[in-house]
Amino acid sequence: MNRPSLWEALRGVVRRDLLLAMRRRSDVAMSVFFLVIVASLFPLGVGPEPAVLRTIGAGVLWVAALLACLLSLGRVFTADYLDGVLEQMVLIAQPLPVLVVGKVFAHWIVSGLPVVLLSPLLGLQFGLDGEALGVLVLSLLLGTPTLSMIGAIGAALVLGVRGSGLLVALLVLPLYVPVLIFGAGAVTSSMAGMGGEANLSLLGACLVLSLFFSPWATAAALRIALE
């Protein structure tokens, strides 16, 4: 039997995970609904003052996106860990980091991309407009894959550990802080007329760094979990 190439392996993992997600659509819908509800709670709690909402809008949407990503982290590896598929992934003759990239990419398509697509609508709720809205979408487009990459490390570390849902939040949230600061900062500085380019570049740098390092760390964590 021919050994599939790296690219085929990557595509296979992505296709399988997307297929599984499509068979359980309610899971996907849940994190999207969560985002919308959390974002809608803030105007109710803070009050409908447009000036206030405009200033907190970017931060609130970023925090909501971050929490939505956090909630869906359990889905990345848990099911495969429980039914033994993960063990086979570690054993097959393809490098584990590449398979990890595939799984994380599928996770981003399912949980991150809907957030990016919904964000203009939610931004309108907070009175963001024009350029700020564009920067918000761009910052989420650069930032949410980083969140998925970093989150995968945490998800792999807590596999099969009791209380893993809460634990993964404690492990991952501190590492999310730079992404949150640069992401929300991009929108705020573009609203202040300074342009969001500096923060967007930093977000891009975070993405590149996490793309490079996170698959190795995640693969190491998976091997530890499966020992």
Partner: protein, 248 residues
């Protein structure tokens, strides 16, 4: 002399026991002299008056908090690379001391911030990243305690510690990268220090004292960890197994 024999907990336990008194005495001396010079000898600052004297605790504690995190990550990395049990025990023993210094740096920073900045806390880059460092210490310790299998707990928290090292340069350079309220470094390796020599002496003495204190406490804690983990072997309790004690 073959130093690598001390990588065995069996050999390291008595060595650590012999080193602890020395490091404790040096730590006590350095901290006492440092506090004496810092609180009584050093002159009052022209703009901050006596409130600046908290620097003699604040800066050494902040340095130690970052330094100990890197040391912890290095021990964890050595443990994973060489498969050495003692390295993981060292990493485990360092975490609480590092978290303590992070906490001290934050609290003394708050106490210093009130008289000089007029506020206990600002969301400035350095304060925030130091707070994140505290969360990272907490995460490493929590992850270790929530995994029952020791081998897995060691390795998983080691991976987390190594990943968290990215925060250290962010803390260190935050005052240069972002122009924020926290002042830039007054002391650096390359330029002449921007403070009086007597103040610098006190600060360096305090840092040295904190460093020695950390070593003493970490060695004491690693002895506890060794006993806890290796409670089965007979050598940890010589009276119960005289033949092992004699063989030694």
């Amino acid at each position: 002399m073959n130093w690598s024999k001390y990588s065995a907990p069996l050999a390291f336990y008595p060595l650590a026991g012999k080193m602890i008194p020395w490091f404790s005495v040096v730590a006590a001396l350095a901290i006492a002299v440092g506090l004496y010079i810092g609180l009584l000898v050093a002159p009052t600052d022209a703009t901050q008056h006596d409130s600046y004297r908290i620097i003699f605790v604040h800066v050494p504690a902040a340095w130690m908090s970052m330094f100990l995190y890197v040391v912890m990550a290095i021990w964890a990395g050595i443990g994973m690379g060489l498969n050495a049990r003692l390295s993981f025990m060292m990493a485990q023993a360092i975490a609480p001391t590092g978290a303590m210094f992070t906490f001290i740096a934050l609290v003394t920073g708050c106490m210093w911030g009130k008289p000089t900045w007029g506020t206990y806390w600002v969301w400035d880059a350095r304060l925030t990243s130091e707070l994140i460092l505290l969360f990272q210490y907490a995460g490493v310790m929590l992850l270790r305690t929530s995994i029952d299998d020791l081998r897995r707990a060691d390795r998983a928290s080691g991976v987390l510690a190594l990943v968290g090292v990215v925060n250290i340069p962010i803390i260190y350079f935050s005052v240069q990268w972002w122009n924020t309220l926290h002042q830039g470094a007054s002391v650096s390796m390359t330029a002449a220090p921007k403070m009086a020599a007597i103040m610098l002496t006190a600060m360096l003495l305090m840092t040295f004292g904190f460093w020695m204190y950390s070593i003493a406490v970490i060695l004491a804690r690693v002895r506890c960890v060794i006993l806890e983990r290796e409670s089965q072997p007979a050598w940890s309790n010589p009276s119960a197994a005289p033949e092992v004690a004699e063989a030694r």
